[in-house]
Subunit: 211 residues, 6 copies
């Protein structure tokens, strides 16, 4: 689907990483060969060639700073929108509860997604905002989660999980008012760090432009 994968000049590559790369070259080369042999043509890396699910070996990957940003929405009716907006920053703040739930959800990701690695998260930022629809009743709760890690795999799943848990919490808080709320589109917006470099979804505006 949409998205650009730009070549990435690693200007921030540290000497430490360079040293490690040299030192572990033999191991890495051997591993890369093994990985290639084990690679599936269909790209489903979570399965080995025999079709067995596995937690992919990332032991040879570099420890780099990685970041992932995901976004999502909850579409809400006019009553729920009003209830959310009147509470924001005051008494009964739906968005504040959902924000905490989203941050904690990022930490729980490895318990939820079967084949994901558990990595050390170094930072999680979550924003929520309720906006009214243009020229129509109801509106949307916008959610954005930015997750940073210093590990061997990216933090995409943590960011997407944070957004999903935040959205589910908005639903839970407002379901007595409106059972018809709809969650989505939940999607990755940006990703940096690691071998695959930067990725950015096309057509996503800066968050600040929405308020």
């Amino acid at each position: 689907m949409v998205g650009t994968r730009t070549a990435r000049t690693r200007k921030t590559a540290t000497r430490k990483t360079a040293t490690r790369k040299t030192a572990t070259r033999k191991t890495a080369t051997r591993k890369a060969a093994a990985r290639k042999a084990a690679a599936r043509k269909d790209g489903l890396t979570h399965f080995d060639p025999a079709g067995r699910a596995r937690m992919v070996d990332v032991g040879a990957k570099a420890v780099t700073q990685r970041r992932a940003v995901a976004r999502g929405e909850v579409r809400v009716g006019p009553e729920a929108l009003a209830a959310i907006r009147q509470g924001t920053g005051k008494k009964g703040d739906v968005l504040a509860v959902a924000q905490l739930a989203a941050i904690m959800g990022a930490k729980r990701m490895p318990d939820l997604i079967p084949l994901c690695h558990s990595i050390e998260l170094t930072g999680v930022d979550v924003r929520l905002e309720a906006v009214a629809n243009d020229g129509g009743p109801g509106g949307r709760v916008l959610i954005e989660a930015a997750v940073r890690t210093t590990g061997r795999t990216g933090a995409e799943m943590e960011a997407l999980t944070a957004v999903s848990v935040g959205a589910l919490t908005v639903y839970d808080m407002c379901k007595a008012i409106d059972r018809g709320m709809v969650i989505g589109p939940v999607r990755l917006v940006e990703k940096s760090g690691g071998k695959s470099g930067e990725w950015r979804r096309e057509g996503e505006e800066e968050w600040s432009s929405r308020a």
Copy 2:
């Protein structure tokens, strides 16, 4: 938003429930008054009148059989769709992994959603299916979760969480092929049991009609 709330004749009301209702009438009446006093005009039941978040007291609610059905989708590009479809029922079955993750996700719900009660789930059914888009590349993974409980609160959040975790797992399994996948709309489709009776989202077809 859309959805019909039909009056519900409780034909399956058991004598046991009747007996309990009588016996606990005084308590219930007192509690109902307290609840009314504590009710918020805006319908945000998870906050008390002072704006403090709370786990709402459901101790006076009847223990009945409740059921909730939720649905969601993951929009996938043509390569991910092909990879998913070739594995289904054979080697490397993305949908089978996501299905298990969804069932386990239903059980983890109370760990994720801050103010939700932990209830005893009596059954969880999850279905996934990958369908191609009509007249265009790519397709969608359809997910449906039906959760049953015998408790004092409904299972909507478990059903929605199951769908979300299933969708996130599909994303995780295919993200090496396609980072642009989009999750949603995730929504409640049906709910029965409990005081508020049945609710059914309009415009949802039977699952069998999709295959």
Copy 3:
């Protein structure tokens, strides 16, 4: 220590409970005998006479509505107090974060306390308030958690755990300002329901009198 255990007239005893008691009398009598035989003279019910830790069998206990209230404090210096107070109800609300953590902590209790039963909580209410010391710098964050359950054992441990987790969260949020904060006294304040009846700690004022 201090506290009064008053005889309790179970005015709310339901017919259902009465029926059950009759029906299961034989079993109960046999079990009670077994329990007596297994009782320890020292009152440490979590050990059997041989000294083995156990999760005590509560299968013969009545399912009744039970409630427990616990309280605790965090003693804070003047800077932390000011930071907490300026955020309350507005931007950066330490107490709102701690309150949610406390509610979620009640749910996690069985994961933490080795020999405790996991019971269905029907409601959790948590209050926090920051008060200045009379005639001196700094102050205290007061925490109260009321937990209700419809189960076979009481909710004391859930209430105490909620207060402890709330207090730890206040510490975490303010520790960059003041590492010297002190948590305690954390104590049970009130307990009702179950065979042992009501218990109330002497000398505890109503919460409302503090503000």
Copy 4:
């Protein structure tokens, strides 16, 4: 509150850390600026300037050996004290159960405290001891937890959580004897490692002096 923050000469600084610092200087400088811009005047680092709760980004912090020591007490009546003491090291050892619970509690900390990072603990030591009050009935269970980590943030919260969970477990084991037990003061006693250096609470004796 009380406590001394002494300047700390990092004699154990390794060449590796030195190398990393140089290499990542540009990044670090940029980040420090961003952090300063994002710093709150009130010191509540867990909130951003807009008041949104966040898991603070520690990605630029050094990986060093850190250690934190926390202490707490449970005040117990004479019967509970006798029961605890007669079991110690023999049959029905309350303190042994609480000690294990405390160690496991340290590991569960990130599940409990919403905005805390999950870090790799390298060692946890917990001690408990029951002492009689001087010239009066009853006594206290003293608890100390020392937690070591090799990470980007300190282990204060793990140490405090360990002590709290240990204290709650003592309460649970003895509550059939004495509901009036009181937990606290739970407090940080010592902290070393990391940029803020050593911190030590005044007036705390060595543990060995208590027995």
Copy 5:
């Protein structure tokens, strides 16, 4: 495999259960028919006829007292045996740690076994004992877990999980001495309560005969 399934006269059937059965007869009959239609000829109840994994619906099952007993062993070399035995009941008690781990493991079962229901455990008893081999070096740590529940499904999986976690903990505690320890046979020994009645494995002696 071995085991006898004896017809079971439900002498302890309570009036309450009788009442409920009558009242919910219509529902139950309908459900039973649905279940029969959905039953698999191969007996793999955790899959539906289409092969989809599911958490089986137990909503129509009676709430009865159920009990399951499981056993297992860890075969240990002479050094590990000596270390375990010298610590028992004194300093460094491997079996006491394993016993607690086993009890907590029973509570964690629903997190581990994907399609299992989470049920309310009413009691858990775990015993461990180290015995020397007859006429040979080394010996065995015997483990027995008895789990009781008042729910809609049995507690076999909790009992087996408790034994497994206890055995793994013995391994962990002694692995610095002996990496060659072997866990097993872990097996169900006894089961009672529920529709399928009692089951007892042949050839299992009473625990007391072993000491």
Copy 6:
């Protein structure tokens, strides 16, 4: 018990590790002395000399690539064997469910084993296969788990836990057919990385030789 511990030439030792070793020599020497002082003659490293359980300090251990392989079996009767085999790779695949459970079980290990460190797993591979007994009814489900980590302690417990959880899941899936299934022998088969070097159990064939 059986097993060979071969001297290990660390050919893959990186310069980075060398640098660290030099730099932290003073600290390490001091710590080693402390450790020796604290070492127990009986080899139960999880206890200190006073008999207190502890999470052993591994902060001075090198971060190296480590790997552990464990194996186990579930002995099944002929009906269960037939049900498992007919589902494999098709509808109702018991082994696929157990495989996922085993991988997730490896991640949950630190929640289960009280004194184990939580380490970052870099890869988990699990294989299951159902084989018929030679010349007799019934058969065995063979399970192998290989776990890799880049940490300060080995992954033996994760590998053994993965096998145990996989075996328990096979039991759960088939228990409606056969309650008499037996789990075991579960054992460590191979271990590499870390100071203690390689260890390999004698008499274990290559997995491929079994099919």
